[in-house]
Amino acid sequence: MRDKILYALAAIAAVLLARNLYIIFFVLGEEKNQGAIWRIFEFHFPAGILGLSGFIVATIFSVVYLMSGNLKYDSIAAAINEVSLMFAAIVLVTGSIWARIIWGVWWAWEARLTSMLICWLIFAGYLMLRRAIEEPTQRARLSAVVCIFGGIDAVIVYKSIEWYRTLHPGPVLTIRGGGGMPPGWQETAYWNLLAMLCLATILVMVRMRQENVSREIDSLRRAAHAY
């Protein structure tokens, strides 16, 4: 049953991505001021949303784990963090490419990129910690605590760095009262968000299963050595 869900999601994601790519490259016209490179926004923006919300959701699952003691929640949190870390990396790379084309520099210390970089560092630390602890219950407990610190800090980082630097192009999507974009761009961005969300779900589910299986192997190994 679970496999069927995974395949179905994969099919949906494939269809959506194909459709979106087609639209991005063939249907939408050039952006007035920035040219072709603006298309990268269609990936940059969804990745940003998924990455950040992933970190927050993982933090919630970490709290749930600490309260319930059920290791499945730990697997979910770890899987989500890992996938979100990947999306954060996508944000950083696409943002960097965009900055190079438009501003001529590979990196600019503006608010959102900097915040995403810091979040990336915090949660890369989370994954490093997990790798350093062998015993599953201890690993779950300690990484849940780190995730809680990380999640709260991610929120604080975002707010505070916004106050600190203000170079990022202002919000362009109409929901945030920004300048708006040529017709069709905004819609496509959201379609891409959907496609990438399907992709994210698949990756999380696969990763989660991996965690659960490796934990089972660990306990079998312990049993074998004990007796």
């Binding site: 290791l71 219950t137 201890q138 312990r222 004990a226 007796y227």
Partner: protein, 232 residues
């Protein structure tokens, strides 16, 4: 009166149960020798009773209260492998610190009294770093007893002790038993432990294999329990 009540205790490392459905009661005033091969789960169980570790499932109560309550811990004395002594502090300082943490009134006075009792009054200002193993053991024992606990938990207390330290420990345990204190000690040193014990509990592969009174047969034939329950 039940001093220690352990019910349905499980301890998981990941999905692996290191302790499975452990349950037994210890009545006040008894001395329990906790036996079992290395890796059976003795230390894990003792740590849970001492409040150092949380059981994944089940309950441990001391005099009816959960073992992790601060008021309960005040009545428990613990002595583990590492002795819990600060190398860079003196014998007196070590005892005073723990006396204060356990809420002993007049900590300095009690510390000095216990140093005398364990034969360490001459090195009371010496740093623990310079002590021999036997001296450290005696100091650690003093630390475990200083707040006059009702329940004593010892993890392999006789390991690598010299004669003098063994004598001190045996006399203190015997004395504590006479005053109605409850003692649980895990051990490999069957002879010394079984002499003091009123009851015996044996863990095998994370499960309780045997609990009961210590019999003369066990004293005479110290391998009896292991042969009966261990080598199945």
């Amino acid at each position: 009166m039940t001093a220690v009540a352990i019910e349905g205790v499980f301890k998981y490392y990941g999905d692996f149960p290191a302790l499975r459905d452990i349950g037994f009661t210890v009545s006040e005033g008894s001395t329990v020798a906790l036996l079992g091969r290395n890796g059976a789960g003795k230390t894990t169980l003792l740590r849970i009773i001492a409040g150092l570790s949380k059981a994944s499932q089940g309950q441990v109560r001391i005099f009816g209260e959960d073992v992790r309550e601060d008021s309960t811990r005040r009545r428990v004395g613990v002595l583990g492998h590492g002795l819990s002594l600060y190398d860079e502090l003196s014998a007196t300082e070590n005892l005073v610190i723990f006396a204060k943490l356990y809420g002993v009134s007049e900590p300095k006075k009690m510390a000095l009294a216990w140093l005398e009792r364990t034969g360490l009054e001459r090195v009371r200002d010496g740093l623990v770093r310079e002590f021999s193993r036997g001296m450290r053991q005696r100091l650690a024992v003093a630390r475990a007893f200083i707040h006059d606990p009702d329940v004593l938990l010892f993890d392999e207390p006789f390991t690598a002790l010299d004669d003098r330290a063994i004598a001190v420990l045996q006399s203190l345990l015997d004395d504590a038993h006479k005053r109605g204190r409850t003692i649980i000690m895990s051990t490999h040193q069957l002879k010394e432990a079984l002499m003091l014990a009123t009851h015996v509990a044996m863990i095998r592969h994370g499960e309780m294999a045997y609990t009961g009174e210590r019999t003369q047969q066990m004293l005479d034939d110290t391998g009896f329990l292991y042969r009966t329950y261990e080598d199945a």
